[in-house]
Symmetry: C2
Subunit: 308 residues, 2 copies
């Protein structure tokens, strides 16, 4: 099932080039109308009917200092691009009564859920074309590209739909903190007395634990603290654990032993990374560069595919 859907809906990015932007009267906006208005012409007309304000009214109410921010933001906003493939994809989505689906932005390297918003047809179309996570702001009734004011864009590498086709993931790499508070993700409030400041999965929870033990001052130092303070011990342990991992294969010690030894290798290596102020996120970004395709590379490869 998944394969047939993928085959039917897979988009060829060569058909999503910038030259193919919608140039219909509905979307060909003048700079002046674009800069200070939230919605495109169609949505803006609806907004005017609803709210009784026009673009000029909105413009008049914007302070000079605010104008430059609004202008910059709107210039950085991604625009929808229509192709038959994009329209087919959008037609296959189960929109709610307001023409929206839930859109979740996830960090491609760490897996952190960065934020959640809603997307309409234009928002998804704009995301696919620009590779910048774009949502529909329900409060402002307009498209909103994450980062259009903060410049902390979420660079989308892939877009996934769920089995019901009413929920999507923007899988991407953020340029900086996603939350308006400056936090890496918007999910930093636990319902429990959690020790984690953010919704961390195991690898990053371990990284956070190592970081906190690195600076802790206790009468009886933790094993992590001992390793941090004794590079000779730390390196000796890393070499030892790597050797034990190898021996789990060489001596046929079984997969349970491999699991345990791999955990040891990972933990001790992560302590060394912490000593060097290296984040796992940086390591994974290097691995992604080596073993998977970046958005740009993937785009290029798809263009090649289309030509051959």
């Amino acid at each position: 099932m998944a394969v047939s859907w993928n085959a039917a809906l897979a988009l060829n990015v060569s058909q999503l080039g910038g030259a193919q932007r919608l140039a219909s009267s509905g979307r060909a906006q003048s700079a002046s109308s674009t800069i200070f208005c939230c919605a495109g012409p169609t949505e803006r007309r609806a907004s005017i009917v609803r709210s009784g304000v026009s673009c000029s009214h909105e413009l008049a109410s914007v302070s000079d200092s605010r104008k430059s921010v609004v202008a910059a933001a709107t210039l950085a906003r991604a625009e929808p691009v229509s192709t038959p493939e994009v329209e087919a994809l959008l037609d296959s989505i189960k929109w709610d009564s307001k023409g929206l689906v839930v859109a979740i932005a996830q960090h491609i390297d760490t897996g952190a859920i960065l934020m959640q918003g809603f997307s309409n047809r234009d928002a998804i179309s704009a995301t696919l074309a620009s590779r910048r996570a774009t949502f529909f702001s329900r409060s402002r009734s307009c498209l909103w590209t994450k980062g259009e004011t903060s410049e902390n864009f979420i660079n989308v590498v892939d877009v996934y739909l769920d089995c019901d086709r009413d929920s999507i993931i923007y899988l991407g790499k953020p340029d900086g903190p996603t939350c308006h508070t400056g936090a890496e993700t918007c999910y930093f409030t636990s319902a429990f007395e959690s020790s984690n400041p953010e919704a961390l999965t195991t690898l990053y929870s371990l990284e956070s634990t190592i970081a906190s033990r690195k600076v802790e001052v206790t009468p009886k130092p933790s094993w992590t603290k001992k390793l941090v303070e004794n590079p000779k011990l730390l390196c000796s342990k890393i070499r030892e654990e790597a050797d034990e991992l190898c021996r789990s294969l060489e001596d046929n010690e079984g997969r349970e032993r491999t699991i345990s030894e791999m955990a040891d290798v990972l933990y001790h290596s992560m302590v060394l990374c912490s000593v060097q102020d290296v984040k796992m996120e940086e390591v994974l970004a290097v691995l992604r560069g080596r073993f998977s395709k970046s958005g740009v590379e993937e785009k290029a490869s798809r263009n090649v595919k289309a030509q051959t």
Copy 2:
């Protein structure tokens, strides 16, 4: 801000014990009414008004074979539990016009987004009490505990709210595949010609790449394939890369070198894991057991906290 919210809302699970279930007339259901009706009495009355059906009608329309499934499902459904702390948390959430928030279930070890649903007050309360991800089914107008029919529960370790308090994460460990199709997650349809069958983040994308190269048959084998087929070479590389990671610290080669060497250690170690049919998910589960608190352990520790 996050800290104060956390402090104000942190729940003490000792106050969420099973003995404190709501026993008011509204929730004290007889077995017969519980088994075949989707909603609790309050919601059920509303449903009857809306749909014109009663529990007996629904019961009559259920086949004998279906009855046992429905019965088992409803018995496995989590029930809401009210405490002042839970009510305070629920009062702080920004519910939409239908009394719902977006609820995202995320795998605590892999970071995979498993599914997304919606939750109302009872669904979150039931999740907090049972530690099983529970949602409000909009199509059936009732609570729905993921796994109530498949037994593939999502065992919730933590619950996170976003900065706007209108979106939550159920961070947990699934008992099995989450999707009704049998897929690990519901997000297996890429909008692009992605090589990943599911929405995989970097570590798991690499794991998937290694797995596919392990079985590939090509005239010129990949480096991964060579390693897989030559355990001596593989182990030699793991020991070598571990040594180079250590030397990046011992010889002060700088953090960039550490990042690169850590990537090498991780990749080569993961190839050995693949040879042993070990999944990173299993390794991370071991690390979680060692370094972070499992749901049960955390619950126990909170009970201790409440008593001291």
